[in-house]
């Protein structure tokens, strides 16, 4: 079989498929399981300074074309999370700690309190007050937070961007300027669903983030624009559920691909996509490297 291995954002990966942040990432055991079931790396649930229970339910609503979630960044705080990262390592693949905070010093405190193979800065969650996209919408904040965390930790730092802005490339350039080793695009699109029988917004938090097939075209566009403008790798995420989706991300310029919502169909999605990608590369007589960003060279 053709190799899918490669270096991405400071990590050596056996394949470019990762478990996305916040998906089955609360416990070391579920993260390790993703590694054992074929993921090339795993990203944890986003963790912050203090414990949070998250928003009241419903926390997710499935709509025809995807999922809207408002989990509300539940986490036991970074102080209680190192044990989960250590267990996650037993899955045999790199473990990326997703962290969030309300300012550069909070981000640095959380990241420097954890030992992980890399850090992913959640500057993009669309449904938690004072966190995520509330600060990640401003390029100046993105740059400042990235620089602070880069100073505080030795491991590679990735920055996860929000698509809920008019210019995501500006955010990507700010992350690069701040010293990021890669950007991750995209987090969910801010969204809402209303119960027709009762008139109530369905999510406990009213607003949430849309993921799944519905957002893939937006994610593809963002990855295409970002990879054209940045020198650092772009990790694509949003609506990937089969090998064709992953191929589309890579053709748009992604160095690796994260998978989230599609896990609701089970962990075998990693092996299925890896097998499909390998066959595709053989059929096209191409390497992963040659495939990356091909769509940009075609236009």
């Amino acid at each position: 079989m053709i190799s899918l291995a490669g270096d991405v954002g400071g990590l050596r990966l056996r394949n470019p498929l990762m478990l996305a942040a916040g998906i089955l990432g609360t416990t070391g055991a579920s993260l390790a399981r993703a590694g054992r079931e074929g993921a090339g790396a795993v990203v944890t649930k986003s963790v912050g300074l203090t414990p949070r229970d998250g928003h009241p339910g419903p926390t997710v609503v499935r709509i025809g074309v995807g999922l809207i979630n408002a989990m509300g960044l539940p986490n036991p705080s970074y102080l209680a999370f190192q044990q989960e990262i250590d267990l996650a390592r037993e899955g045999g693949v790199p473990v990326v700690a997703s962290v969030f905070g309300s300012d550069p010093s909070e981000f640095s405190q959380v990241a420097s309190g954890l030992v992980a193979d890399a850090f992913e800065l959640n500057l993009s969650c669309p449904h938690a007050e004072r966190y995520g996209a509330e600060i990640g919408c401003q390029p100046a904040n993105v740059e400042e937070v990235t620089r602070a965390v880069k100073r505080a930790v030795g491991a590679p730092v990735w920055v996860k961007l929000t698509p809920n802005v008019s210019d995501i490339v500006g955010l990507g350039l700010a992350a690069q300027q701040g010293g990021a080793d890669a950007v991750v695009a995209i987090n969910t699109l801010k969204a809402m669903a209303i119960d027709v029988e009762s008139g109530y917004p369905i999510l406990g938090n009213r607003f949430g983030g849309l993921s799944g097939p519905a957002i893939k075209p937006v994610a593809i566009r963002c990855v295409y624009e970002l990879s054209a403008a940045l020198d650092i790798p772009v990790i694509g995420v949003g609506g990937v559920g089969c090998w064709q989706d992953a191929a589309e991300m890579i053709l748009a310029g992604a160095s690796a691909v994260q998978i989230g919502t599609a896990l609701s169909g089970g962990y075998q999605v990693f092996r299925d996509i890896a097998a499909g990608l390998s066959k595709y590369l053989v059929r096209k007589d191409m390497t992963l490297e040659e495939m990356r960003g091909l769509a940009r060279r075609r236009s």
Binding site: T27, P58, V60, L87, S198
Partner: protein, 258 residues
């Protein structure tokens, strides 16, 4: 799926703190499966089916208190049926339940009788005033009852009733109730784990296997979709009976709440 709207047809008072609600349509669940019940404006919580169109709710906190304020004609949001159900195998079943955990077992016992199985029940409650569904279980076969305060039946925890029965004489044992009770029974039935099915509880949020809230150590089983009914031989080596995670994902020691 979006939550469907379901109207409450009937409210049955079981005890001072337990009520059964009949909803306006059957969800065609397997016993052991659950629904996510949305009390609009409050929260969405997991509830086992106690019949095809029934749920049986114990009042413990904000969401269940809100359910107690609902009446016939009010509606709730419902996602389900969800998760795995009990599987009926063999010819004789021993049902072991504690507290409101007996609710899915009554439903299961009725299905078991309908396919000709023999049903024996071991039921534990804090006190006779908290017993639910005794009549439903008595219609199915022999019932061994325990109460913590000795007000009826054997005085003691549910497992005290095991001395009246030979668990190894049953083809399959079905468990639902407080975790310490289930853990106690599983330990006393050593060697029979592959014949025990337990309906367990973890903090369920998404109920579709993505958020990670319900995963249990050491294998990362997603209780919301790969459970809540899990064979006991998959429960002995990790967190079950020892600790459980709360809404933040941080572990708490298993309280003795029987």
């Amino acid at each position: 799926m979006r939550p469907a709207s379901s109207v409450i047809r009937e409210v049955l008072e079981e005890t001072e703190s337990v009520r059964t609600l009949r909803l306006d349509h059957s969800f065609d669940p397997l016993p052991g499966q659950y629904m996510m019940l949305w009390v609009r404006g409050v929260d969405e919580i997991p509830m086992s089916f106690s019949g095809p169109d029934l749920i049986t709710v114990q009042r413990v906190g904000p969401a269940t208190r809100a359910i107690f304020s609902l009446d016939v004609g009010d509606s709730v949001g419902v996602r389900g049926p969800l998760g795995t159900g009990f599987s009926l195998t063999g010819r004789s079943a021993l049902l072991i339940g504690g507290g409101v955990g007996v609710a899915p077992l009554a439903f299961l016992g009725e299905r078991a009788r309908a396919v000709g199985m023999e049903v024996t029940s071991l039921l534990g409650f804090r006190s006779t005033s908290e017993a639910v569904f005794l009549d439903r279980f008595r219609r199915l076969g022999r019932v061994v009852l325990t109460t913590d305060d000795g007000s009826e039946g054997i005085c003691g925890h549910t497992s005290a009733g095991l001395c009246e029965l030979d668990p190894s004489a049953f083809d399959q044992i079905y468990l639902c109730g407080p975790e310490v009770m289930m853990w106690d029974v599983i330990r006393r039935c050593q060697g029979m784990e592959s014949r025990i099915q337990a309906c367990i509880s973890r903090y369920i949020k998404c109920a579709i296997g993505v958020c990670g809230s319900c995963c249990i150590d050491p294998d990362g089983i997603r209780v919301c979709v790969e459970g809540p009914v899990i064979r006991a031989d998959r429960l002995t080596a990790g967190e079950f009976g020892r600790y459980r995670r709360g809404p933040s994902g941080g572990p708490d020691v298993c309280k003795s709440v029987h």
